[in-house]
């Protein structure tokens, strides 16, 4: 529905304009600074080329650690999301329970991963462990919701047919509900693993392990040729995981 004209539309326009102007006026936006940035960006790029491939062993170590964080973080999220997904399902529990659990999941989703990671670094110290905990926690907010939707998306008639045939609740879960849910859950989990991997790439910036540590180290120490190698590795990793994800999702359609 698009409403044209009227005082409502005019008021909306004035408000939007005011918000944009306020943002401009208070953000130190100066054209001169943008113009003088050109040569400096050129200098960065010049120092990135050619990429320094002597850091290959650091890249391999960092990538492996990021993968481990994503794998263990996803596993933790799956373990947390199964009970939370059940408790957030409209068809499994009374409204008072699923509403509170859904609110909890929304709150978890609202906390940025980096914030959780920083808190965890403070709590358990540097290294991949705070990264794993942060990824598991953060991903549960989405995966728990997805699992609840997978449970609620199950067609009821086959479940009723098994009940009519005398099958008890657990048997119905196994033979009528699970076969419908399993492919959806597999797809959601693979999708979340891809997100976890992408998000784990930067965890090293706050000291929570993985390849992000090297990006931060090389940029801060002006070793742009090494940073370039790490960046290329990250891009290749993201492309690889996306290709893998597409292939796996086809398998579960």
């Amino acid at each position: 529905m698009i409403r044209r004209g009227g005082s409502g539309g005019f008021l909306t326009g004035v408000c939007l304009g005011a918000v944009v102007l306020w943002s401009f006026a208070t953000s130190d936006m100066e054209l001169s600074r943008l113009l003088s940035a050109g040569p400096r960006i050129g200098e960065f790029l010049g120092r990135m080329i050619p990429p320094d491939l002597t850091v290959m062993s650091e890249i391999v170590d960092g990538t492996a650690e990021t993968l481990r964080i994503a794998i263990l973080g996803t596993l933790g999220a799956v373990i947390l999301s199964v009970p939370l997904g059940l408790a957030a399902s409209e068809t499994m529990v009374p409204p008072v329970i699923y509403r509170s659990v859904r609110t909890l999941l929304a709150l978890i989703r609202a906390i940025p991963l980096l914030l959780v990671a920083m808190l965890m670094v403070g709590a358990v110290g540097l290294g991949p462990m705070p990264g794993v905990i942060a990824v598991a926690f953060h991903a549960t907010g989405m995966l728990g919701k997805f699992y609840a939707e997978a449970i609620d998306g199950v067609a009821r008639p086959p479940v009723e047919a098994l009940q009519s045939a005398g099958a008890g609740p657990l048997v119905r879960l196994r033979h009528a509900i699970w076969p419908q849910m399993a492919p959806v859950i597999a797809r959601d989990t693979i999708f979340r693993f891809e997100l976890n991997l992408r998000e784990s790439l930067i965890l090293g910036i706050v000291g929570a392990g993985g390849i992000g540590f090297y990006i931060q180290t090389y940029v801060r120490s002006f070793q742009y040729d090494k940073a370039a190698s790490v960046t290329i590795a990250v891009i290749l990793l993201v492309i690889a995981i996306e290709v893998l994800n597409v292939a796996l999702r086809k398998r579960f359609s």
Binding site: A155, P157, P158, E160, A161, L162, Q163, S164, A165, G166, A167, G168, L170, V171, R174, H175, A176, P179, Q180, P183
Partner: protein, 259 residues
């Protein structure tokens, strides 16, 4: 003869509805009969079948199925349910599972909970499933996934699941409502022959009297939630059968207008 179904003054009102779906229905079905429930949409046929399957509560009157009284406020005990088989109008199959898995699902109610959960079927379960598939003419589809089948094939899977359950009473909701006459003949012959072979009693609903009467031993006409006709088919003259469509379908419309 033993009474498979015994209804006395059965009434049922869907929550929120103004008119009762079933209104003082009294009906006796003996073992081995093949009863067709005739009547237009909204006559109460589907409600009566679901109620006999133990899926509706909140009715009044007396209901006895296979010698066991149903409680008006609680579903029947799990142990009693496999004896009543139901062929669902929309088939109610697990689409991503294989045909054989769906047919074996009909056996789950007759197994111990642990064996059923892990799908550890006995030789007898597998024999019953394969016999049911063969009777339905789809033995070669056993390992296909249901979501790769045509509508007609799915219906045969739904019938096979019910037969594999080895029920003593088979209930079928509008089994031929969406089929052309030739296919409808095949399906009704399939259900009634398979039931006769297994000594099961059959009750199915239809709004096509001319078709259903060739396979039923008894016709029960329903309109507005009441039984308006109850005749043994072999005792009906051709003229009566010819008049049935008028009596049941158009008469029901008149009755509903009066109400």
């Amino acid at each position: 003869m033993t009474r498979v179904i015994d209804l006395v003054d059965l009434s049922f009102l869907h929550s929120g509805a103004e008119l009762p779906a079933l209104n003082d229905v009294s009906l006796v079905v003996e073992a081995g009969e093949a009863v067709v429930l005739l009547g237009p949409s909204g006559a109460g046929k589907t409600t009566l079948l679901a109620l006999l399957d133990g899926r509706l509560q909140g009715w009044t009157g007396c209901v006895s199925v296979l010698g066991r009284g149903l409680a008006p406020d609680a579903p029947p005990p799990v142990a009693a349910r496999p004896d009543t088989g139901f062929i669902f109008q929309e088939f109610a199959l697990v689409e991503r599972s294989s045909v054989l898995r769906n047919v074996l699902n009909g056996r789950l109610g007759r197994m111990s909970s642990v064996a059923a959960f892990f799908g550890r079927h006995s030789e007898h379960d597998l024999d019953a499933a394969h016999q049911a598939l063969a009777d339905c003419g789809i033995g070669e589809l056993a390992h296909r996934r249901v979501d790769s089948l045509s509508g007609g094939q799915r219906q045969r899977v739904a019938i096979a699941r019910c037969l594999a359950q080895e029920p003593r009473l088979i209930l079928a909701d509008e089994p031929v409502s969406n089929l052309d006459p030739a296919r409808a003949d095949e399906i009704l012959a399939l259900i009634t022959n398979a039931a006769a072979k297994r000594g099961a009693t059959t009750v199915f609903s239809s709004h096509q009297p001319e078709l259903a009467l060739r396979f039923a031993s008894r016709a029960v006409g329903m309109a507005g939630g009441s039984v308006v006709l109850d005749r043994v088919v072999s005792a009906m003259s051709d003229a009566e059968i010819g008049a049935l469509y008028h009596d049941v379908v158009e008469g029901a419309v008149a009755l509903r207008l009066v109400q």
